[in-house]
Assembly symmetry: none
Homo-oligomer: 205 residues x 4
């Protein structure tokens, strides 16, 4: 009769709502700039009641970060496991990455901007997910080598980090300019990664 296992459907739903409320508030004001009262207010409950769902403000931050990362990583897994060629997969990765600056993915933004305020113990699961993300991307780079779409001397760790960084940099454009076309940017970014700046058929250096 009692809901034991699942901690009751209602609880699960409210907890998710709480995570989303926290994501929303943290992304707006920053972790330190936001108060637990702000989060509670967004959820429509009183401050103290928030502690029914989180043991501490820090735990809330951790849960928000995990929530934000998870979907994102799952997308990467799907791409990595797909059958497409290197170029197609690279573009999928870039699109996934850039897309999050348009979608209202507040939880991921919180992860990017605020995770440093977590104490190391609370960052381990986050780091695992992040490392997993990068490793899958490295796998994709390796398959690129196998397809002869990537030069052999390119280190895949270096490459993965470069891709991630470039996408984050372009994210700025998307955030600054609400008119920017994400797909067009993704196309250009992929092209730059594949061919560099130099005119085709001409090699400098």
């Amino acid at each position: 009769m009692k809901p034991e296992k699942t901690e009751s459907r209602r609880y699960q739903k409210q907890k998710l709502a709480a995570i989303r409320a926290a994501a929303s508030v943290f992304s707006e004001k920053g972790f330190h700039g936001a108060s637990t009262a702000d989060v509670a207010a967004r959820l429509g409950i009183k401050q103290g009641s928030l502690y029914y769902y989180f043991d501490s403000k820090e735990e809330a931050l951790e849960e928000v970060c995990l929530y934000g990362l998870r979907q994102y990583v799952e997308n990467m897994d799907a791409i990595a496991e797909g059958e497409e060629n290197f170029q197609a997969r690279l573009r999928a990765v870039v699109t996934n990455h850039l897309g999050r600056y348009r979608e209202k993915n507040e939880a991921l933004k919180v992860h990017n901007d605020e995770r440093l305020y977590l104490p190391p113990e609370r960052r381990v699961r986050l780091k695992q997910l992040g490392t997993h993300y990068r490793e899958r991307l490295e796998d994709i780079v390796e398959t690129g080598k196998a397809e002869a779409a990537v030069r052999d001397e390119i280190d895949s760790h270096f490459m993965a980090q470069s891709i991630i960084g470039m996408c984050n940099g372009l994210g700025e454009i998307i955030v600054r300019d609400p008119e920017a076309d994400v797909f067009e940017l993704a196309r250009k970014c992929t092209d730059l990664l594949l061919h560099g700046t130099a005119p085709y058929h001409i090699q400098g250096d």
Copy 2:
């Protein structure tokens, strides 16, 4: 001829020391994690005395950010005004950018990580400098086109942002791995930007 009153030589020196102390403390603990007492202690004075040099903690943050950004932007100006060819200048830019993850440039780190905690009014001068940095980089990209080292269809704003992002991404590697060779990374990064991943002479897509 002697320095008068509030803007005496001594004051200027201590003020600079105060900015550096704040940079050091903010970079270690984050703006919100650091207290004015921490900053004062690093400077060797007492908490209240700090207000002789800053009107508020926020002003201290602003000054730190400006201080950090300025040097960095000046380097960029020097590169942009130089006479070298595109490849050489690109490498100089990348090296300058990556170098700051090794050099103990605390003020710049504070700018990167903490500037968001400034209220918009306090961010305008910062934005001006940042924009200036990017625009100089765009200029360099344009000269690259003139030299036929950069394809014409590449948008220089897009390109500048991509370079900045990629460098930031590689900064992670440098921070994570104290053994990483910054100059080697800069070389590989420049190469990737120039030629992409694809084997020379082969064009995909």
Copy 3:
């Protein structure tokens, strides 16, 4: 014949269990250090359900104290009503008193340590029992005088309080040293009370 409504057998049983759970928790953590959630958990129910048995946390404390004191006072009554001589009864009193530091008599410990946190209104019944205890002990002292085992000039109120205090002091030894022999201590204590420190047959002062 069947138990009706609120005072059903089941209720009585659970209420007693609740008092014991509270005693156990309060004695471990102190009244203020323990939460109603702790008490509920020990009883195996949920926090809110506790209020089915107690109107407030304070009422719980009062009931625990009364429960603890009652048994203890009943023992005293039995001793006082017994037929033994003064020495034997004194030893019984001391043994009863010291024994509670060994037996897991949590409710009594709570009475001793935490009763002060009750508001005066809630302390009256407790004081009655305590006074009753001391008065019975005074009665015993009086019978000691009748038996010529106690000097006439010894005030029985003073004496009762001295006995209680000495026993409490020795309780410390029992608590500190789990090996301490309670019966041996009780014997020595009784002896000290009867004969003092001075060698037999020699009178100082």
Copy 4:
């Protein structure tokens, strides 16, 4: 010029006043029943300012306990080092002990009633002092044996604890009855300890 060593006379004075204010408030309401606001109010400052003198409420409690114990232990040292005979010293000890229930020695009361709320780390110095007190008392008992005023078979640890306990028990009388004559009580207590209840020259058991 700067007050370095002594943390300034003014600070020392206010800190002492803070300890006394805390003693007064804790003894009235108990540690948990008293708020830091209460203590600050008694001192005539605002709540937050209290933290200029204490790092935490717990530290305040520790300092109060230490303050209360110290004087008391010093008295014991003086008695133990004196040259008087056993009876005189025992009476001095008892008088010192009982006297504190009359003197407004709030700090010692706090030590007795509230020290358990300190975490073990904070109790070590207290325990050292307490142990020291008891050991000096044991020394006195030993000298009593040397003087043949105490039977050889009486264990001095047991004896010390008995004396302490009896005094605490009689403290109740003093607290309950403001008219009670402390010196008369001390005399009777000493007498009881020396000669027991039994009529002089008669040995029971």
